[in-house]
């Protein structure tokens, strides 16, 4: 049955509780139409995202991982997003280095007022992921 269904990329979205999470809420209450491919996971701050979360998401079969947080200078914890910027840069470079497609990982700054931007980020991400097909490089092989 599942073979007949068209491929829909699955995105794991780590959203900061103080901004992007509220931003995604705003996109919803504003009735903005955008693809339903992202599974949101609310986190306290992008600075709390360990590279392990991203590797683990890919390991468990995510086609793309999105990390979204507050704009630089707006972090609730003052400097969390600065630290995230550095960590995520290193993670992204490492993923690219071993040959994972660059478009599989994305980071964005979306404030609580930017519902439209959140919808745009997800739409763009899905459009970029679709031609790449399912992610099977880091995905755990399931024994049948």
């Amino acid at each position: 049955m599942s073979e007949q269904q068209p491929y829909e990329p699955r995105i794991v979205a780590f959203l900061c509780k103080w901004c992007s999470s509220a931003g995604s809420d705003l996109a919803g209450v504003s009735r903005i139409q955008y693809p339903a491919n992202a599974t949101p996971i609310t986190i306290p701050c992008t600075g709390a995202v360990s590279p392990m979360y991203i590797l683990s998401a890919f390991n468990k079969g995510a086609d793309g991982v999105l990390v979204s947080g507050c704009h630089i200078g707006d972090c609730h914890y003052i400097e969390g997003n600065y630290l995230a910027r550095r960590k995520m840069h290193l993670t992204m470079e490492l993923l690219k280095f071993i040959g994972v497609e660059q478009n599989r990982f994305r980071m964005s700054w979306v404030s609580a007022a930017e519902g439209a931007k959140f919808a745009q980020v997800v739409t763009d991400f899905v459009n970029d992921l679709r031609p790449l097909g399912p992610q099977d490089k880091l995905k755990k092989a399931v024994r049948t």
């Binding site: 630089i72 550095r86 290193l90 690219k96 280095f97 071993i98 040959g99």
Partner: protein, 343 residues
Amino acid sequence: MINLQDIRDTARDMLAKGEVRAVIGYRRGSRGMLAEPAFITDPAQADELVWDPTCFHNLSLYLVEDRKFLAHLRKTANAPIAIVAKGCDARSIVVLMQEHYFKREDVYIIGVSCEGSGVVDERKLAPRLNGIQATNAAFDGDDFVFTTAEGEKRIPACEVMADRCLECRNPFPKEHNLAFGEDKTGRKLAEPFAALTRFEAQGAGQRWDSWSRHFDRCIRCFACRSVCPMCYCDECVVDSITFPVTAETTADEKANRIKWIERSATRSENITYLMTRAMHLAGRCTDCGECERACPVNVPIRMLNNKMEREAREKFGFEPGASIGGPSLVATFLDTDPGDFIR
């Protein structure tokens, strides 16, 4: 040129005076020419110490072991421990002190400069000796001299030296109590990150082709973790058996612990393990290259660490093991950090 007798005399004097409780150095091993780590507590044993091209171990690992051992005994050290450290080893010690693993006064660093040379790579040496075992190796200017059953063989150091040593710019231990040998900081035997640059010039598809083969090969023996002085965590995220088990831990709890990574040596799990390790070592790895040497299946682990090191250097201006009071890579930031990848 380092006079071996100087190292031995220093060790003997310090042990005799009781200034240090032990000296960690190298001595002749039981397998051919290879040196092995030595832990000397008796001044009479100081003459066992050696310094030759096979002294590749990063001995700062044993400072970590010592610290763990003392903690387990609930004892505090009564005297510092002396350690023979090359340039890369000394940087590892600096990183450990940066992370407050031990204090500066707990360790006495006997620095040895690799000068214009470095340690031998057995994998490069084997074909040069036509499979004959060498029984001794020695530095001699820009050459290594190997003693085999068929007499002495002189090989230019650059031809059989480990890649990490060829690329090393800081063969002199900057942090030291006492240093032997000439300070040749800034030497350039080969272009740094040469192998990495060559590898990166390939397309993503080719990179994945080679890495997937490397990841398939990994047997998860954790030799890279065991040999690394930076992998000192008591609980390792990749290995659930290192999580503490007390009398109160229920079977249910043990079975349902979070497993970030499965223990099976399959490709996906190996990737997650090796990538996690690279992330954990970002900004801490001092490129001693021991992980790659210890790897029984020749996974180029050093390349992952090199990638992180170069990224840190080029994008964040970060140098690992530069100073004890210096910042750590992922706990600091600059306003100028690249952010153009963020939408």
